[in-house]
Structures are given as C-alpha cells and as structure tokens.
C-alpha cells in the first residue's frame, strides 16, 4: 500500500476537542452541527464585490432545517450566479480579485501578507487576529516551537489506532485540517512558517519555478531557517524543492507502482543462451535523488531520506536527528518543547558513543556502521538505514562475531 503512514505516537488526539455527537440530534441534521457551525462562521464572509454577490451568505444557524437552507440558497442565487460568472469571467483579465474574501477575519487560513506579494492575495485578511493558523502536516517538532500545530495536524490520516477510539473525532479532525486547527502560535517567523495556504510571491522566486506552497510541514520554505527534515533536500532549498507532503491514504491518486518509480531500481536480466534462466543484477542509474528508508528503534513509522542532499556524514547525522527528533519527543510524551533529553539521544550517532547508533545495510545485505567508508562509497552501496539503540548493538556484535567465525571456518 502506498500511503500507510501510521503514527499512533502522535499525541494530537489529546489536544483535540472531542466532537462528541450530541445525543439528541436526529440523524438528518447530523452534518455535525458543531463542526458545521464552526465552519460556517469562520469561512463565509463575503467582503464587497458586487460581482461576487452570488454567493449567498451562509446561515449561521446550524439547527435551521437543512432542507430550507439549501432551498433558500438555491432560489436566491441561481439567477445571480450566471450573471456573476459572466461578469467575473470578463473581469478576469487584469485585476486581481480582491472582492471575495472567503477567508474571514477569524481566519483559519494562514496568510503571510509579506509573502503574498504586493497587492496580491485576498484583501481584507486581518492577520493580526490571534486565530491565525498554521496548518502543517509536519510531524511534531517540525519548524521549531510549533509542535502543537504540527502535532494536531499530524492527523488520523495515519492512525488506525486513533480511529478506534474516535471515529467521529477523526472525521471531524480531518475536516478541521482544512479549515481550522487549534489556534496556534503566530510566531515571529511569519513568512517562513508553513501555512496550509501559504502563498509565495512569484516575484520572490526569480526563477522559472514559483515557490510551491506546501501543504505540510512547510519544509521547503523553512529551509532557510531550519535544517531540512524529511525528504526535502537540505542544501537545495528555495523554490525548487518542496516538502514531502504528509502522506494521506490514497493520495495522490496514482497507482502504487508509480509511487516508487524514482527510487526503485528494477532488475534487468542479462541474456544468456537459450533456456538458461537470466541472471539478475541491480543497478541504479537514477540520477535524481537517492531515497533510502530509515527506521529508528522504537518508532513504528519509518522515514525516507535523500542521500544526494548531503555530502558528508555530519549532515546526514543532523538530518536523521531532524527526522526523528519530534517523533522521539512525542513518544516520550513531551510535545511542548523539544526535549533536551530527546535531542541528547542523537548525540554520538556515528561513533557509537551515544544512546543510538546509525547503521546501514549495504548492497550485499550486510549491516554496517555508518561512517567507516568514504562518503561517496557509502552512498553508492547503501540500501537502507537504521537507527539502533546502542545497547542492542552489543547483542548484535556477538551475533555477527559468531557469523564471522563461521565464514572464516569455511
């Protein structure tokens, strides 16, 4: 399966208000009134703009008969829709429409006004509101100091465990991802924070590829100030990279075999005579990136890291820390700030002196300590990485010593 990314360690559920379905509500109006109300209140204020007036103001009374609401809306707006659309299409040419503010003042959409460039973007957004949301699907710990936001949004896209407890909350949570999340800190780094809808000015990019607004993690745009976590290339920041979006089951809608295309190496057979079965050998002529899996002891969900983004072991070690720090801290149940103890866990990854050690499996299937061979050789032979508890290594050493002895004997 493509997008299974189960992270039951993410504590966001604790910080999420429960969407208990009110007992008395008949099912006909269970488009979750709580959620409905919140959504309607927060989203639909139409600011000025006659040509966009076709959008009917929402009923803010969620308990009004749903049927009526729809009817009203339909009746009211059908004739104006056509008109408005015509006008709108004509107006398209030049001016940026500042008319329709779908994002009201109590906005859940995070807008970085500086980033949105001169005059572009939605007018009327008051970003000094304290309910500015950064919606990130980064893992906890991403982007310094925004654990909660990230944690909150590290959604139940992943967690079946969470589903068992709160099916309703989950769907609620999912909805909320896209409209609001808990209000998170605005933080000083507005233009660098990952907004769900963070827009980057094209002018800023100055190159062919406009900044990609990121859906999750904001890693691409955080590159400048934070070390790159996850699959995003470290040094190649700016507009040409984007953060790895947090995996959603079944998204993007492509077949599974396509998801692994760029990092898998298919086995071609070398032809032999007639009936002989063809031998396989792998080779990887993929020049683009070298994504290898990396798992950490005690963390159920693995990550992938692009080795081409680094040119030495130190940077790799730092990246590994960035990848797992949040998860480890979450597991240790200290999501508030980056736990010093968790950080400490990643000291000494390469030399065996720390709590964890970085090892890898090479193309011959052997497990090796990271750091022994020159970097280039490492990159060309590594197949996957593991972060092991150093205390477990002693046991492994004994095992492998045993094997070596066997080999020597043979």
């Amino acid at each position: 399966m493509g997008w299974e990314c189960l992270d039951p360690t993410v504590p966001f559920l604790g910080s999420f208000p429960s969407h208990g379905i009110p007992a008395a509500v008949p099912f006909l109006s269970t488009t979750s009134p709580t959620r409905q109300r919140k959504r309607k209140d927060e989203k639909r204020s139409v600011v000025a703009g006659a040509s966009r007036a076709f959008l009917p103001p929402p009923s803010s009374d969620p308990t009004s008969r749903p049927g009526t609401r729809v009817q009203e809306a339909a009746g009211r707006s059908s004739s104006t829709f056509e008109l408005a659309m015509e006008e709108d299409l004509e107006n398209r040419g030049g001016a940026c429409p500042q008319l329709l503010d779908l994002i009201p003042n109590e906005s859940d959409w995070m807008m970085a006004p500086e980033a949105s460039g001169g005059g572009r973007g939605v007018g009327g957004l008051d970003d000094s509101e304290d309910k500015k949301l950064e919606l990130k699907l980064g893992l906890p710990g991403v982007g310094g100091g925004e654990e909660e936001a990230a944690a909150v949004l590290c959604l139940d896209f992943f967690s079946k465990a969470s589903k068992t407890t709160t099916t309703t909350t989950c769907t609620g949570a999912r909805r909320r991802l896209f409209e609001s999340a808990e209000s998170k800190s605005e933080g000083p780094q507005q233009e660098q924070q990952a907004g769900f809808l963070q827009l980057q000015s094209r002018a800023e990019s100055g190159n062919e590829w406009p900044h990609k607004a990121v859906w999750a993690g904001g890693k691409a745009d955080l590159q400048q100030s934070h070390a790159a976590p996850g699959g995003a290339a470290g040094p190649n920041t700016s507009s040409q990279t984007r953060a790895a979006p947090a995996p959603v089951v079944g998204w993007p809608p492509i077949r599974s075999f396509r998801k692994n295309l760029s990092s898998s190496s298919v086995k071609p057979s070398v032809g032999l005579e007639n009936d002989n079965v063809e031998m396989k050998h792998k080779f990887d002529n993929n020049k683009k990136g070298l994504l290898v899996k990396i798992n950490m002891d005690g963390i159920p969900i693995g990550r992938k890291v692009d080795l081409k983004a680094y040119d030495n072991y130190e940077k790799l070690s730092l990246a590994v820390k960035e990848l797992f720090l949040g998860l480890l801290a979450a597991q240790r149940d200290t999501p508030e700030n980056e736990n010093e103890a968790a950080k400490q866990a990643f000291v000494g990854l390469l030399d065996g002196s720390g709590e964890y050690t970085l090892v890898y499996e090479d193309n011959e299937g052997d497990k090796m300590f990271v750091g022994d061979v020159p970097w280039d050789m490492f990159v060309s032979t590594v197949k996957r990485l593991r972060v092991l508890k150093s205390s477990d290594l002693a046991a492994l050493r004994e095992q492998s010593a045993g094997k070596e002895q066997q080999l020597k004997v043979e």
Binding site: M1, V25, F27, T31, R35, Q36, K40, R44, L55, V70, M85, D88, L89, C96, I103, M111, S116, R120, G121, T164, T167, T171, R175, L197, L199, W209, P210, A213, G231, A232, A243, A244, P245, G250, W251, P253, I254, R255, S256, R258, L261, S262, S265, V266, K267, P268, S269, V270, G271, E273, D275, V277, E278, N285, K287, K288, G289, L291, K304, A309
Partner: protein, 575 residues
C-alpha cells in the same frame, strides 16, 4: 418492423453496435428483445454485482465477448480493502456452462485466481483474447495454463495487474504449435523471464503486432526479439538498461530503423538518456509514446525525443518534463489528443515539475487535445479559464493538484471559476476529476453545465451538503460519482435518492455520512445495495450496538438487480 422476418430484423441489428443502443432496442417489444438477445455478441457489465452472471449468460447465449468490471475505481489508490470482492470465478463458471462459444474476456479490477484461469483455459475451445486490467489474485501458474490450453490464442494482455511470481517458465508452456499470437503484453510481471522461450515464441508468431515486455527483459533479449519481429506496431521495450558504449547498444541502434510499422512505444523502465537515442529513428512515425516509467530521463532528454514526434497523438510522461518540455510538446505535437503527466517524485525531494504554464502551452498549441490527466503542484483560475477557451473538446479532464485543497496561488481564490469554465466550455466532457481548493460553487457549475458528464471524482472539496446536492440534481448523465474527504453528509445523501438508480455507483469515503443515513437510503431504495465498508475491527463486531449517528468511513452504493451479494467479507455490511 415487427412484420419483418426475424432474420431481417437481426440483420438490421447488426448495424446497431453500441451497448446502449442495443439495450434500448431490446426494450421496444418482446420480439425485438428476443432477436436482440440471441444476436448479441458483446456484453459489457460495468459492475459485476449489478447482475448475476447466470442471468447474463442465460439471456445472451451467443456472446463472444464479455467485459466485466469489479472493484470501485478508488481501489486503484488503496482505498478499497484487499478482500472486498470482485471475484471473477462466478463469471467464468457461468460462461463455461452457458456460453461455451466465448472468445474474448476482459476483466478490470477483479480478483482472478489460478483456478479461474485454468477453468477459462479449458472451457472455451475458441478462446482468443484475454485482457486483464488492474486485477490480482493470480500467479504465473495461471498464465501457464492459459498458454497451455488456449489453442489459437491471439491476445494475452496483462495491464497493471498484481501477479504472483511462481517462476519464469510460463512462457515455455506455449506449445510449438502456437503461432497465432497477435498481441502479448506482460509488462506488469515482476519476476524473471525465460529469454529463450520468449524469443522462440516471438519467432514463430508471424502475426505478432503488439509486444510489451516486462522490466525483467534485458536489452540483449530485446535485440534478439526485435530481429524476428520487424512488423511490430506496438512495442514495450522492457528494461532498456544498456550502456551506450557496448555492442549490445549498437545492435539496438541498428534494429530500430527497420521498424517501419512501429507506432506505439512504451517501457523504458531503466533507460538512461544516452540509450534513448536508439529510438530516434522511429520517433517521426510514432503516434503513442509512454515514457512515464522512466524516471531517469530528465527534461532535456525528453525534449530531444519529443522534438521528433510530430505525429504523436498520445503522450504519457513524468513531470520531469517540466513546463519547458511541455512547451516543446505544444510546438511539435500538433496531433496530440491525449496527454498524461504523472508525478515523478511525490516524496518531495524532486526538483522540476510542472505548473499551469505547461498545461497552458499545450492547450494553446495542441488544438485536438481531448483527454488529460495532469499532476501538478499548482493551478490558477486564469489558466484554467484560458485552457477551457483553447480546448473546448475535452472529453476527459483530470487535474490533480498534489497539495489537497490548495487554492489559486496568485489570487488565493478557490478554483471554482477555473473548473466552472472547463465544464461550461467543454460540452462533451464525460469525465472530470477535481482538485485544489473548491467550494460548493464549483458543484453548482458542474450541476448546471456538465450535461454529458458521466464520471466525477471529488477529493477534499466543497463546504456543505449543497455541493453534492447540486451535482445530484444536475448532471443528467452521471454514472459514477466518487467522493473522498468532503463535508457531505446524510442530507446530501438522501436528497435525491432516485438519482442513484440512474447511476452505476456512488463511492463516499471520509465524508460525513452516518449509519442512520445509510439505513434510510437502503430503506427507501430497495434496488440499491448500500454497502458499508468498515475496517475498524472494534466496531464491526458490535453492529447492532452502533448508533445511527455513527459516522461511516466508507460507503459504496450501487444499483443492482441481484440483491445483496453473498460473497461479501465480514467487514462489508449491505444494508
């Protein structure tokens, strides 16, 4: 017309080709029903659970070709649990008993077993063509039985199936007397291939026109094959991994110019840019080119090859082609009808990809464009409106903006207007997939304008029940509606229940549908199967204890004359 003898009526019906027309014709009167059913040669069953196989075979005893589809489309993206259903065996069994003259079987998204394949192979003496698309449940052993028993097999076409590898010998099971193959496609097989057997098979099939090799077939093997199959029209190259400094590569270079008939090229799983040069000689006559399995080919190399393909009608590439490459497509491929741009690197470490600029260029340069599947990271309303103006002939328009719910980056608006322009301008639009930030507005437009729309895929869109209601109330030709992660609830579900009987199916996952809503639907519409797919192990044991307010993760609703199915697994409840 009823005064004509049956033979005459039947002869007239020979000219009535399409399924829909034949279905209509059969409802005119009993006589016509009879004539039609006995003269029908092809049957297409869009949902294998809509009708029982015996009923189909009994009604149409003379069929030569049967197509059946199983799982809902979202199964392609792992949203449907593995053992949900869609079993092919009942169909094969029924056909074996009632329609032994069957010559062609096409199955899509079904579970096919080796036993089923064996039964198939043994039951139909005239069997000519097996096409399996996105199926699973069988192994190379099953293929071996097909090879063994299907004398006179003309076509074996395996597209994107999950096939268990039990060894490479299945190709050797084609007897020496098998010389009838016209089309052989095993590109989806992952295991080793017996090169010798393959080469001999190709050599003895002079009518072979379409050959698609799996990634395990080496270039050495390919060379030998190509030497014997110069009449190929359609080639899937296999791995194509070769060092351009070797003799093997030079042989390849010399092979391709001999292919005067080659029109369709795909494969290239491990191709590196240098060895792509070998195919340049055939590019000028290509009509179909699929480079979407070749991540190592970068934008510039793609451009070099596309520059030559001025007759191209269908192009599948990865987004490494970039906007720049798409501009080259626009200026070169004036005959282009179908374009698919797949994401190369969804884990985010990629560099180039495509934006609205690329699509704009293609829309303006390729006037015949009518089918699109486009993965990109952003799209603007302005671009979509222009694209709609440039290409009013779209029949399939599938746009996937990889960040769900992302608005127009320039204006921060939802993409309602852009998609609205598409449905308004493209009067023949039959299939539409939406993405990006979308409000109920876009559904209003779709309901109003998309009259010919048959299939609609929605994800992470809409604000309220209204959205879904607009669609259900409009779109008179809607057949398949699939929705995920949208705020549509019971009100929308129940607003227009009669609509579902005019449609093939409705899929909703991660929406706001409750158990109570589904119960109400099932109660009102007895000829629908309302299936609840509940993968939550804790709750499905306590079905009777679940309140009506319990939100459902996945529902699949489809019209049927066969009643609730008897092969549903534990986690599927049919209300």
């Amino acid at each position: 017309m009823t005064y004509f003898p049956e033979e005459v009526v039947e002869h007239i019906f020979d000219f009535v080709g399409s399924h829909r027309d034949r279905n209509t014709v059969s409802t005119v009167c009993k006589a016509w029903y009879q004539v039609e059913r006995l003269s029908r040669r092809t049957v297409f069953v869009g949902n294998c659970y809509a009708i029982g196989p015996e009923r189909v075979m009994a009604r149409f005893p003379g069929i030569k070709s049967l197509s059946v589809k199983g799982k809902p489309h979202f199964a392609d993206f792992n949203l449907v649990p593995y053992d949900w259903g869609g079993f092919a065996l009942p169909w094969i069994v029924a056909a074996a008993r009632l329609c032994p003259g069957l010559e062609e079987l096409r199955l899509k998204r079904m579970v096919v077993t080796d036993d089923g394949l064996e039964l198939l192979a043994r039951s139909f003496p005239n069997f000519k063509s097996l096409v399996l698309i996105s199926c699973e449940g069988f192994s190379t052993d099953g293929l071996a039985t097909i090879a063994t028993y299907c004398r006179g097999l003309r076509e074996l076409d395996l597209q994107e199936n999950e096939v268990e590898d039990h060894g490479c010998q299945w190709l050797s099971f084609f007897p020496d007397s098998c010389t009838s193959l016209v089309s052989l496609n095993f590109g989806c097989l992952k295991g080793e291939v017996n090169g010798g057997a393959l080469e001999r098979l190709v050599a003895r099939c002079p009518n072979l026109r379409s050959l698609k090799l799996s990634p395990a077939v080496s270039v050495e093997s390919l060379n030998k094959i190509l030497a014997r199959a110069s009449h190929l029209v359609d080639l899937g190259t296999g791995s194509f991994a070769v060092d351009h400094r070797t003799d093997v590569y030079h042989m390849l270079m010399n092979s391709f110019p001999k292919f005067k008939s080659l029109r369709n090229l795909s494969g290239f799983w491990d191709a590196s840019p240098c060895c792509l040069r070998a195919v340049y000689p055939v590019c000028t006559s290509l009509t179909v080119l699929n480079l979407s399995y070749a991540p190592a080919i970068q934008g510039d190399d793609l451009i070099k090859i596309i520059c030559l393909c001025f007759k191209l009608q269908k192009l599948w590439v990865l987004d490494s082609i970039g906007d720049k490459g798409l501009a080259v497509v626009a200026s070169t491929c004036k005959e282009l009808q179908e374009l698919r741009v797949f994401p190369c690197d969804i884990y985010g470490a990629g560099t180039t990809s495509v934006t609205e600029e690329g699509l704009l260029a293609v829309s303006s340069g390729c006037p015949k464009l009518n089918s699109l599947l486009y993965f990109c990271y952003q799209m603007t309303n302005a671009a979509l409106i222009t694209i709609a103006k440039n290409c009013p002939h779209f029949t399939r328009f599938r746009l996937c903006i990889l960040d769900p719910g992302k608005p127009d980056p320039v204006t921060d608006q939802p993409l309602d207007e852009g998609f609205g322009a598409i449905v308004r301008s493209c009067k023949n639009l039959r299939r539409l997939s939406l993405s990006g930030r979308l409000t109920d507005q876009v559904f209003l437009y779709i309901g109003m304008y998309a009259e010919r729309l048959e299939m609609l895929s929605i994800a992470f869109a809409g604000d309220s029940d209204k959205g879904m209601i607009y669609v259900l109330n409009g779109c008179k030709n809607l057949r398949k509606l699939e929705i995920r992660d949208c705020p549509f609830g019971d009100i929308a579900l129940l607003k227009n229940v009669a609509k579902y009987e005019t449609m093939r199916s409705l899929w909703m996952s991660s929406c706001d549908i409750t158990l109570g809503g589904c119960k109400a639907l099932a109660a009102k519409m007895p000829r629908l199967n309302v299936e609840i797919i509940n993968e939550n192990e804790e709750t499905y044991e306590f079905e009777e204890n679940l309140s009506d307010l319990h939100k459902l993760e996945k529902i699949y609703v489809y019209r049927t004359v066969a009643g609730p199915r008897n092969d549903a697994p534990d986690f599927v409840w049919t209300l």
